[in-house]
């Protein structure tokens, strides 16, 4: 489904190829790094949507589905079977009867129902609510109008029936750790947050806040022969330069690379072979507020796209650690249209469009940005002179990332630069631009187009996946033509992996999120 193979670096492929050729070794320690901050947010994974936290959660917890990087789609994990009925809205899941929590208790349907009800507790604003909301009656629980999700029924201890509000693939909604299944009895206790219990291949041993989480093999994990390793250590390492030293010193097995390190590793004969890269399902863009008069005109929005030399920024500033965006849906989306070409760098055309729109001398706007090195201030600073050439003046308004999130959701901006998840589900990614989607959800540009709505609505009704795909591709093309954003790039995630660590998965949803049970270390690993 996903075409990750198209974007894997040659040596990354070689690394994956080696996995096939060797017999996995049992034992050893996997030493991963969590690069996105100074600490883990919480040991209650339901409360945090940070990519940082899901790194350890992939070892500790399990959800109804799991992301399969090889297939490029979510597949059943805690259920063996999903029988669809009721016009595609009712899913009957046959749960595994061999999944044990780390306290030795067997998982049942009650745990699934309890976990989803917990996530919909509206007074806690659990981030996973956005996914569970797809179950009928979940929104009522969130609003405090009901106690239990009406669309979720226990048939027997290992069977649940889930009625959805729309015809979607539930896999896309229930594969992240945000919807992890907790043990109903244990997770209600205060002690759970100190010593979490999950269904994953590794059980919790220790958390040193701001430093590391240690997990050890769970012998009753349901997949035979898994996990391979005895222990997993996830070290918090927010500083790229420190990770670089530790990686070269063989103290860690994985390290996420930034643009500068990406260049350095590529030019180092010893390190080049450690690079693994994948196009993640994130699109970076400048969003334009259509209630700001100049941006209400499509020609102005298109002019912005023509005025910016996007390739130059990607090559020189981002050091090639990104893929040029040629539409909203990213390279690894199953519906990515490779026939679409990005807007060319054409300042003359931009000027012409501006003149046609009534702005021959350009205009001035305020551009809200965070300091992010890949989609923040450095990019804005590079773009400003390009816009200036066609007469558009941009004033920078710098805010913190937390504030930017509020700004885009409230619509309190003229333009902003952001990185947004545009997958893995193309339907959900495009639905963000549906006029019925509130700005506070993900329609950040408050985009409204009846033709677009019609295409997305129709795609939601059809049963034939091919037909649905065609409709969504049309919607994607229409979006590109309407240009509510400057289409900047799709993130290229790059990670260095030590040669002794095998089984790395090219996860397009987030490269650091590895199904740890499939990783193994050979005898050359310095960590015994």
């Amino acid at each position: 489904m996903f075409r990750t193979i198209a974007i894997v670096a040659g040596l990354g492929l070689a690394l994956a190829g080696t996995v096939e050729a060797q017999t996995p070794r049992k034992g050893g320690t996997i030493r991963m790094t969590a690069p996105y901050g100074s600490s883990f947010t919480s040991l209650d994974i339901h409360t945090t949507q940070r990519a940082q936290d899901e790194i350890y959660a992939k070892a500790l917890h399990r959800s109804l589905y799991i992301w399969n990087s090889a297939q490029g789609k979510p597949v059943l994990e805690l259920a063996r079977e999903d029988v669809v009925s009721g016009g595609g809205l009712v899913h009957t899941f046959k749960l595994r009867d061999d999944a044990y929590f780390h306290n030795g208790r067997k998982m049942t349907a009650d745990d699934v129902i309890w976990s989803y009800n917990r996530i919909m507790d509206g007074s806690k604003a659990y981030p996973g609510a956005r996914y569970v909301r797809v179950i009928e009656g979940a929104a009522a629980v969130e609003k405090g109008q009901a106690k239990d999700i009406s669309g979720l029924k226990k048939i027997d201890d290992f069977t649940i029936e889930m009625k959805l509000t729309e015809k979607v693939d539930p896999g896309f909604y229930f594969f992240t750790a945000l919807t992890s299944i907790y043990p109903a009895d244990e997770a209600a206790k205060e002690s759970f947050i100190q010593k979490p219990i999950g269904l994953g291949p590794f059980k919790f041993v220790e958390h040193v806040p701001g430093s590391r989480i240690v997990l050890e093999r769970w012998d009753r994990f349901y997949r035979p022969g898994r996990p391979y390793a005895d222990k997993v250590i996830v070290s918090v390492m927010g500083e790229a330069a420190a990770r670089d030293v530790a990686f070269r010193n063989k103290e860690i097995d994985t390290s996420v690379l930034g643009p500068a390190q990406y260049v350095a590793y590529q030019s180092d004969a010893d390190l080049k072979g450690t690079i693994v890269e994948v196009a993640e399902v994130f699109t970076r863009y400048m969003g334009m507020n259509t209630s700001f008069k100049p941006f209400a005109d499509k020609r102005v929005r298109q002019a912005i796209n023509y005025a910016i030399d996007t390739d130059l920024i990607i090559n020189k500033l981002v050091k090639g650690k990104a893929y040029r965006a040629s539409s909203w849906l990213p390279l690894t989306s199953p519906l990515y249209d490779k026939t679409m070409k990005p807007y060319a760098y054409d300042p003359a055309k931009a000027k012409q469009l501006l003149a046609e729109a009534g702005y021959p001398n350009g205009f001035e706007f305020e551009w809200t940005t965070s300091q992010n090195e890949s989609w923040g201030l450095p990019i804005v600073t590079a773009v400003i002179p390009m816009l200036d050439k066609v007469g558009i003046k941009a004033k920078v308004k710098q805010v913190e990332t937390a504030v930017l999130a509020e700004v885009v959701r409230s619509g309190d901006y003229q333009a902003f630069i952001y990185s947004q998840a545009t997958g893995p589900d193309p339907q959900a990614a495009l639905k963000c631009f549906h006029s019925a989607t509130p700005q506070s959800a993900c329609n950040y540009m408050n985009f409204r187009n009846t033709d677009f709505d019609k295409l997305v609505d129709e795609a939601g009704q059809v049963d034939d996946p091919a037909k649905r795909g065609q409709l969504l591709q049309k919607a994607n093309a229409l979006l590109y033509e309407e240009a509510p954003v400057w289409f900047f790039n799709y993130n290229k995630a790059v990670m260095a992996v030590q040669p002794w660590l095998k089984g790395i998965q090219l996860n397009a949803t987030e490269l650091t999120h590895q199904n740890v049970e499939d990783l193994w270390v050979d005898e050359t690993s310095p960590a015994k």
């Binding site: 806040p209 701001g210 103290e251 990332t401």
Partner: protein
Amino acid sequence: MLSFLIRRLLQTIPTVLAVVLLVFVLFSVVPGSIVSTMSDDSDPQVELRMKKQLGLDQPVYMRFGAYVARLATGDLGASFRTREPVTTMIAKRAWPTLQLIFASMAFAVLLGVPLGFVAALRPGSLVDTVSMVLAVSGLSLAKFWLGLLLMYLFALRLGWLPSFGYGDGSLKYLILPAVTLGVSPMALLARTTRAAVLEIMTADFVRTARSKGMSETRVVKWHVMRNALVLILTTMGLQFGALMGQAVVVEKLFSWPGIGSLLVDSVLQRDIPAVQGSILVVVLFFLAINLLIDVLYGVIDPRIRYA
């Protein structure tokens, strides 16, 4: 001594209150809230409910009143993010931070003070020049860069020490972060000590001691050192406070599990109780150290006690 202590303790109360008020007001007016950091896509009604539950729908003065009332009972509140008591969160990280700060200060004192003394006893000599060049360099070095340099040298090149982490809390994990953090106060102490000793060496009472036939060793030991200690202690006290702030950079660089990283992440996530608690602990530590220094002044120079 007891009345002196009580007086000094009472003097700290307005400082603590001012800090509490300042931090509270600051985080009440800065944009961004915990609700927006938790989910990209939450229902506005849910946001309102959550704000209500966290008490964020109340006017600032009411929230401040409730906060101070809780604080009076030693309750720092619960983290918005993890629902854990802030005291528990800080307790988990306090020991590593204290380890780091005391080790850094020990490094600074053990190296900086003798260096300053040696330089002052031979002013203008090669030893003086070299030690002062080192001191100025130490003050000028950015901690982040120095830390990386030490990692590169002692971990990657020489393989003597681990480059990061807390490990089992043993000394080998502590050395690099402590030295990185300790270089700047070491340099300052060396310069302060040199200046203090040079000044005291020319004082009348030192000249008198020498004229009475006292040996140079005894002059330095009994008159110069004791008097220089007051200035050295003052510098140490101030540096302890500065180290608490500077530890943020070092803790992050070395993945050291201290209060600094808790503070940084809490600020970014707008976890106000955790921010307030962390800053309060830093301030209380600073005040406690300075109180201790004041007591030590009295021990070194009894005149100060009665002043």
